[in-house]
């Protein structure tokens, strides 16, 4: 759609292996799981909507192979499509639990619409749920299961929740929030095997009691879906390697989103799994292909909504030191992440209108007086850039 918005008149064909038209993932573990919306509300556009913009969708088809010398793509149904420019947005592939008993049909994952609908059907009052993985997916599912009246246990193998993304002080807020909603949390727990005892699943961990549940939901992350790129001979390294505009080792092929291991403007190679990244890289791809200049890079931003609390995160939120503005356990606070005296990120709990000021401060990378940040009486809008100390 960005290509069309920017005036591209050439043919655009999108091939996807799911039967659904392109849809948004964030609602799958939130509103859809909570039963507040149906699949249609997640669609980016309907099939007709895409067709009206001259974008042809080929749904439910896998790409078998790419012929780079011929510049064509082969579908499983035998058809071939020629291209001038090819975009790979193959996303992530679920990491699967490898232990004994993990292939039971009551062990759920959550990546696509089909997964979400299948899981939603199980979330009823009284259902006993074990969630393996204390990341954002696991926690959002915990919130939905709890709201549906389920009894929930979360098993996390590290000492904190959302370990991949967040500073321990921020993870503590999530632990507090979930416990307050009746969720049982187990840390440093690894699942040894899942036993099927007459349709009750029994989770055996290496050092704790066995946990009896009706369903298991696994949220242990995704791997970049690079198989097609690899067999095609494109460079891959924790994702499809691209330059700062998304071009792969073949100049006619681009890669974006969860699958792309991209050189950023500051010389780092990153693969980012956020909605905003996928969105921005898609727009950037359209600009790159049409010869428009790059936009100014924005700091990384992502969000989660759990139990009616909105959390938003900007910039770097895992390392460094946190200065809190407001009481973090009151569910209305901002944690500013500092590296020395430089603001590198923020973790925000129900920030509302403050978010704009927070994003501005993080984008500027200001050197800042901690007391000003922590003092709720100093409006964020009044804190301006200081020169390097």
């Amino acid at each position: 759609m960005s290509l069309r918005d920017l005036g591209h008149k050439g043919q655009i064909i999108v091939v996807g292996d799911e039967a659904w038209p392109p849809y948004e993932r964030p609602p799958l573990s939130k509103e859809l799981l909570l039963g507040e919306i149906e699949p249609e509300r997640t669609f980016l556009r309907t099939v007709d909507g895409f067709n009206a913009a001259g974008v042809e969708l080929i749904l439910g088809q896998k790409v078998d192979g790419i012929d780079r010398s011929d510049k064509s793509v082969h579908l499983q149904n035998g058809k071939s499509i020629s291209y001038d420019t090819l975009l790979l947005a193959t996303g992530g592939r679920l990491r699967k639990l490898a232990c004994e008993g993990a292939d039971h049909n009551k062990v759920h994952y959550l990546r696509g619409l089909d997964d979400a609908l299948r899981l939603r059907a199980e979330l009823k009052a009284g259902v006993r749920v074990a969630i393996i993985g204390g990341g954002l997916i696991g926690l959002e599912v915990a919130a939905a299961a709890s709201k549906a009246g389920g009894k929930v246990t979360v098993l996390e193998r590290s000492p904190q929740l959302v370990a991949r993304l967040l500073h321990p002080e921020v993870s503590d807020v999530f632990a507090d929030l979930h416990r307050a909603n009746g969720i049982n949390l187990h840390f440093e727990t690894a699942v040894q095997r899942i036993e099927n005892r007459d349709e009750t699943l029994v989770i055996h961990t290496h050092d704790g009691p066995a946990i009896e549940v009706d369903i298991v939901v696994v949220g242990i992350g995704v791997e970049p879906n690079t198989l097609l790129a690899e067999t095609t001979g494109l460079e891959t390294d924790n994702g499809i390697v691209t330059d700062s505009r998304g071009r792969t080792s073949d100049k006619s092929i681009y890669a974006i989103g969860d699958v792309a291991s991209r050189l950023s403007s500051d010389g780092q190679i990153q693969r980012i799994e956020t909605w905003q990244n996928a969105q921005n890289q898609a727009v950037e791809f359209a600009k790159a292909v049409l010869g428009h200049p790059d936009a100014q890079p924005e700091p990384n931003w992502f969000w989660t909504d759990q139990y009616g609390v909105n959390f938003q995160f900007v910039g770097s939120t895992r390392k460094g030191e946190v200065v809190w503005r407001g009481d973090r356990f009151s569910m209305n606070a901002i944690g500013f992440h500092l590296e020395g005296d430089r603001l590198i990120g923020a973790s925000c709990i129900n920030p509302g209108r403050e978010m704009r000021n927070v994003k501005r401060l993080v984008a500027q990378g200001v050197y800042i007086d901690r007391q000003m940040l922590a003092d709720s009486r100093t409006p964020l809008g009044k804190i301006s850039v200081k020169s390097e100390l």
Binding site: E24, P26, E31, R41, T42, F43, L44, W275, Q279, W303, D305, G308, N310, P351, G352, R353, M355, R356
Partner: protein
């Protein structure tokens, strides 16, 4: 049958600002864009947030929850994450008042 309902005095809403107004159970957002008034539903179509708690820039309102944006004149959603437009209501100035036209509930 449609209804024009007086919701606020023009002097109460300066240029570039927005306020929440309720008509019965309808929660609406009223905007002043360059001296002209516009109205939409206040609850964002994307998440549980009131647009009047967000930001108004010219004729675009941005939701504070996930930065979804709408044109306040037409209710058109302006790209991701918005997938559903918001309902816009006709408005008019009558004397010093601002009126919004809503559909009255039918009697049967």
């Amino acid at each position: 049958m449609s209804n024009w309902v007086k919701v606020a005095k023009q002097s109460a809403l300066p240029e570039g600002e927005m306020i929440a107004v309720n008509i019965g159970e309808l929660r609406l957002a009223l905007y002043n864009v360059g001296g002209d008034f516009f109205a939409t539903d206040n609850l964002c179509t994307h998440g549980n947030a009131l647009l009047t708690n967000g930001y108004l820039d010219d004729d675009v309102v941005e939701c504070p929850l996930h930065a979804g944006r709408f044109n306040v004149k037409s209710g058109q959603g302006l790209g991701a994450p918005i997938t559903c437009n918001i309902k816009a209501y006709p408005t008019r100035k009558t004397g010093d008042d601002i009126e919004i036209e809503i559909d009255a509930p039918s009697s049967h």
